[in-house]
Symmetry: C4
Subunit: 290 residues, 4 copies
């Protein structure tokens, strides 16, 4: 009998994750946006107002969460990561610069990856997992994660349960996210850079995510919620998040876990799928090359 | 008295169709996306997780469906098409590469068309109909469909009932789809390639499609639903699909049919419209030519 | 005491207008789209299926409407305009090619304007009013309307009641439309040309337009509804239109009128605003010129 | 004991603000749009029909508001600002041209800033605060505000309560707005320039903003509503605004204030945050530079 990643009697697990991108969320689209005062303050709202507010909600409800920090953000606000750790939450690796690995060489990606690790080390914060900036991992990202001894990655989308990824440097666990459980598509709006085209009602988002949680209970999926404090830290959205958590807690069969806890359980669960990550070979001329 | 494409006492027919585009859904927009690991896994979710889940729902509810496969996808996952056939569903031709025929010469389109047929032949899977990648048929597509002995096409939008298309190579039946009964516009989101700008609540989609089905019962239309397993295979959307099917089944006057069944009935129904497909002649200089 | 454009005891008037753009709706964005079979059939749905369906609803409910035809569409489907006239509705001038006047010289606009008039004359169809393609009138459009003896234009947006426009060639009445009472923003979707990014639920649109009608009853506005048969001719949307009309009819204080009727009443109503149409003078260098 | 920016027993304050951009809203995106008659009239609706309608609602409900005028608009419609002042509302500085300061040199921004001040002076209208066009302030905007003796700015987004901004020229109060309390993202639609992609139901917006107000009462935030008369002056949206105000008034713990009143109270409230505005230093090569 194999260990199960889901606790006894549990139908689904919720990972509350917060990507604290702050300014890197737009700087990774162009350094020129540093000149845009409103845009920079729009992003700064995340760490400066959003994170404390979210920490308050998590404390009130007594649930754990995982905060993914770009190294750049951790470096510039040295007390921020410590505050998250003190509140009992997990801190994880979200690249250094938030620039997508798909726009880098592998050497550049490694360099960016290491640089973030150094920041966390200097701040004495242990990290167990990684998420690519914008989820835009390369095909080598998983082996970097293994090489540096992290337990999990959270960037791939070919499942809605944890799965095993074999790499040249050892196995890692993938904790797959998805756009439909991300606040970006629902709330993001900025004219420069243009990061969204509409702003949805938090009540729509709450209703949609409750519906998704119920469906995931049917399929024993991982409810991997990705929120951004610069978005969900706003009052109405924060209250919708509170209601979502309360809804999940009201079911006896849903547990709230950190990514690390899920990864450790998943590692021992041999019933989960194994999915190697390999770039598909493309026949020249078959698809447009422009 | 002519045969009727709708069964006795039936007000509308539902064709549940699934376009299993997998990676071709984005590779057909640029081969460079093969480098994007998250994007490729996002698409792989369709055949690897979505199709089995959808097959489960169809089995539980006892309704037939039609799965449109690009030849490229059938070739790379040799057991997938067989699994669909064994479950009692129809498999149909969805081009080889999913590259729009409007971006090809006619010779290129023919080559792509034949190549997919060869894949299905090699896998011993009979196909009866065709749908253009992205529905972007050329003006010659229907005659290709006739030439290769298929019974129907499902790419044109000038009716919401089946109709007859005369071609140089014989008549085919058109089973018209429409954007409003497609999950792409409701759920698709990716930053690279940018395939959508918002993610809708499955409850909105369910409500809209129930409303459409009721309206189609009034007009005796064909409810041609086009879903993509990489989208609708996600838990909340899969449950919305289940509810939609249950809603249709709760009406006594709605039947669920494969495309082949509808095409065969429509072929014998001379009361349906005949609509030749001809490129409009354009007066030079009248419309912008840039 | 001045005549009033609103009938005695009426709080608002509804003008149901249908822009039968057919293929010109996309050809005016590029003649290359003539090669796109699906796109052309998507547009052809309007005159071929949508218009008969809408005429049926109007007949059942007993309300009049105004159909705006590009001359190109009237010319290619010679029986279509006659059918609308026989059903008792108004036919109006919607340019010849649907190409925006803002992309033409004034001579080109005049030529396009006259060419449409000739089509209507040849078909023996009297027209009383005009609407610019895409509402993209030039600053001279109103004087063309006056010069050719038409009573009204319906392209400008600086009021929600009819108003008087003085021109060098005489006065015309403006019957202002608005994007928020147009089905395009709610329903249009095509990838090439990209004409929309989301498809809304007809139930949302119905609810929004009922709310607007109630608000317009408060402000005595003109409910100028602009629908496109290639969009609203689809079953669910057609039924939402039916429900909207029934809702308006259920109020004793709303009347349904053709544009011609409204223009004639407005012409005699001196209490309505007079708004000259003049291009603002722009100081060089003040606004970006690229 | 420090003075509080919120009145005794109050949980939140509402600032109703109206940006009367009129034609500058699109001319600031390109002077060529002056040739587009429909677009210009679409914008003119704001001052010509929207402002009177909104003034009527404010009068009926007895609440104060703040109207931000670009100098260009105030100059071209000399009676408009006076009418707002006579109705008892605040008038504030919204640049001269509405061109974003982020596209200007500092000298150009100062020139534009002064030019608007001269218009208000010539019309004998005192102004106490400033909002950047499109909120696109530069990093020097706050010091301009201080230098010219204004009390507050309303363009930055790093808080949802008022805060103190130290500048070289003295302190100012920031009254932060946000995209989620702006009608632009919900209602704006134009094809040229393309200023939006969908039109939302005023009932959605009303529901979302009521939800936000309730959440802000929990967090003691400033409900800084930014509306545009060319959008919210339309009947349905105006009625939704009326309902929103009535909803706020129905709570005993919400007060409606002008921006000036809030700024004066905030200035004396030392418990509010102090947030210097400084451009982040960017390491060369870290972020994309193109």
């Amino acid at each position: 009998m194999t260990a199960s990643w889901l606790g006894p009697g549990k139908a689904s697990a919720v990972a509350l994750t917060f990507d604290v991108d702050a300014e890197t969320g737009v700087l990774s689209m162009g350094e020129k946006y540093a000149r845009h005062a409103m845009t920079m303050t729009h992003q700064a709202f995340g760490p400066d107002v959003g994170v404390p507010r979210i920490l308050g909600i998590l404390r009130e409800l007594g649930v754990p969460a995982t905060f993914f920090f770009p190294g750049w953000v951790a470096e510039r606000r040295p007390n921020l990561v410590a505050r998250v750790v003190e509140a009992g939450h997990e801190v994880a690796h979200h690249s250094y610069s938030h620039v997508p690995a798909t726009s880098m060489t592998f050497a550049e990606e490694r360099n960016d990856f290491e640089r973030a690790l150094e920041v966390f080390q200097k701040q004495d914060v242990p990290v167990y997992g990684h998420r690519a900036g914008l989820w835009e991992a390369s095909w080598q990202t998983a082996s970097l994660v293994a090489e540096y001894g992290l337990a999990y990655d959270s960037s791939m989308m070919n499942d809605d349960r944890p799965y095993h990824v074999p790499t040249e440097r050892g196995d890692v666990v993938e904790l797959p996210p998805h756009w439909s459980l991300d606040d970006w598509e629902q709330y993001a709006f900025l004219p420069a850079p243009q990061i969204g085209s509409i702003i949805e009602d938090p009540q729509k988002v709450l209703s949609m995510w409750k519906y998704e949680l119920d469906a995931m209970r049917r399929y024993n999926s991982l409810f991997m919620l990705t929120n951004h404090p610069f978005l969900t830290g706003r009052p109405g959205r924060a209250e919708a998040l509170r209601s979502l958590i309360e809804y999940g807690m009201s079911h006896g069969d849903v547990e709230f876990l950190t990514c690390r806890e899920i990864a450790e359980r998943a590692k021992a669960d041999t019933s989960l799928a194994t999915r190697p990550l390999e770039q598909p070979e493309i026949e020249p001329g078959l698809f447009p090359s422009e």
